[in-house]
């Protein structure tokens, strides 16, 4: 299909925004959209023309867990989300004291940058997501987040975890060397728990490329090695230096 025809682009943009451009044609048009400023303009104009129809749809409050899921996926925390970044007076006084010679524009730019920096630095160090244990059919099951020092792992079970009174789900670090898995603890079936790691566990996690979950008797493996089937394996993300 040729896209150099202005009228054709206009029609495709209209049908794209309306939603009636479907199938492979939609994918092709999206590639064109990425590449062409003219097409982006045509699409934006149609989005603006039709936006009034969205205003006619009744508002619906989403359930609370939707926001919690967003926090999880972005690795931001409720604490960070509710904390107000408070400027430090001393810092600002110093900043403006030393920048008085600059023009108003430059000062404004510095101010914006400074606010950006403050927002970054005043936030408590967030936990870093190190692994997401998920299953294709069920989606995310557990989220593993680590403190920056690697001393503790915060494990959160999503609502998709099905509790099993007859078994425990045990978490293992799988060393990249192929050495024996090291147990990191038993996973919760609901809510969030914190696993404090000992030196052996920290060392194993530090060199591991993956974690695994095995099905064990209640309380966890009696032998110190996985005894039941491995249910999940997930990649580990290396801790970033704070």
């Amino acid at each position: 299909m040729k896209y150099d025809n202005r009228e054709l682009i206009e029609q495709l943009a209209a049908q794209y925004v309306l939603g009636t451009l479907r199938g492979r044609a939609r994918g092709r048009f999206e590639r064109l959209l990425d590449a062409s400023a003219d097409v982006q303009t045509a699409v934006r104009r149609w989005e603006d023309r039709l936006i009034g129809m969205a205003a006619r749809v009744a508002v619906q409050a989403p359930p609370k867990h939707v926001w919690q899921g967003i926090e999880r996926r972005l690795g931001i925390t409720a604490a960070a989300a509710t904390q107000v970044a408070t400027p430090r007076r001393g810092f600002f006084a110093e900043l403006f004291g030393s920048r008085l010679g600059l023009g108003a524009l430059a000062t404004a730019a510095v101010f914006v940058l400074a606010v950006g920096m403050l927002i970054q630095t005043n936030r408590p160090a967030p936990l870093q997501t190190i692994a997401v244990i998920a299953q294709k059919e069920q989606g995310e099951l557990w989220l593993l987040r680590s403190t920056k020092d690697g001393q503790r792992i915060v494990v959160e079970a999503t609502a998709r975890v099905t509790p099993d009174a007859a078994h425990a789900f045990e978490l293992w670090a799988l060393p990249a060397s192929g050495a024996a898995p090291v147990s990191l603890g038993v996973l919760p079936t609901n809510g969030t728990i914190t696993l404090a790691l000992n030196a052996t566990q920290r060392a194993a996690l530090g060199t591991a490329g993956k974690v695994a979950v095995s099905l064990e008797p209640p309380g966890g493996s009696p032998t110190g090695a996985p005894t039941g089937p491995v249910l999940h394996v997930a990649d580990l993300t290396k801790l970033q230096a704070a």
Binding site: G19, T20, E47, R49, A58, V59, A61, P62, I76
Partner: protein
């Protein structure tokens, strides 16, 4: 009418708040993302529910949308002066992508009876500073034939494909495609004049 003046003012404040918060999201301010979410999530969730019909899907889509908004908040040019239109577009595109892969499993019959009328007539909170555009759109939709208007509304609000519209209104596919195409060009002529 003072009521409509109030609505206009509230609407302009709403639009400006949305854009301010988007700008702060570009600075990686997660508090701003939370505030933006409080402000726009009910609106976006309403749109997503209408399109996807199943709550679980709409919840998943809303998460995807907000994650995407956080990632793209630095694209000031894309949303300057049209924050809510930008947000709704991200939401609708996500929903349509989900429909493209899910429609096979979700039958149209699962949908609630067609309720395409203004279901938020008393809703004071407008989408953005687009009141004039909304009024114009309503006027221009009113100028379409009944069939054109119904087809376009089914597509936009419910995410129906041409095929689904044809089945829903009981008309041949070719006729429906022509209603949609002509309806869109009439809308454009009317809105741009």
């Amino acid at each position: 009418m003072s009521a409509s003046v109030d609505t206009m003012t509230e609407s302009a404040a709403y639009a400006s708040e949305v854009e301010t918060l988007l700008g702060r999201c570009a600075l990686r301010d997660s508090k701003a993302l939370n505030q933006l979410y409080q402000l726009v999530a009910p609106r976006l969730f309403g749109v997503l529910l209408k399109l996807l019909r199943r709550r679980a899907l709409a919840e998943e889509a809303l998460q995807d949308v907000i994650v995407k908004v956080w990632q793209r908040a630095g694209q000031f040019e894309a949303y300057r002066g049209r924050g809510m239109a930008w947000l709704v577009s991200i939401a609708r595109n996500r929903a349509i992508d989900m429909l493209r892969s899910q429609r096979n499993y979700v039958s149209i019959d699962e949908a609630a009876p067609a309720d395409l009328a203004d279901d938020s007539a008393n809703d004071a909170m407008e989408m953005s500073g687009t009141d004039k555009m909304r009024t114009a759109l309503n006027r221009c939709l009113g100028g379409l034939s009944d069939q054109q208007r119904e087809c376009i509304t089914l597509a936009y609000v419910k995410g129906y494909s041409h095929d689904e519209i044809a089945r829903s209104v009981g008309s041949p596919l070719g006729t429906v495609k022509s209603w949609v195409r002509r309806g869109l060009s009439s809308l454009k002529r009317c809105l741009d004049s």
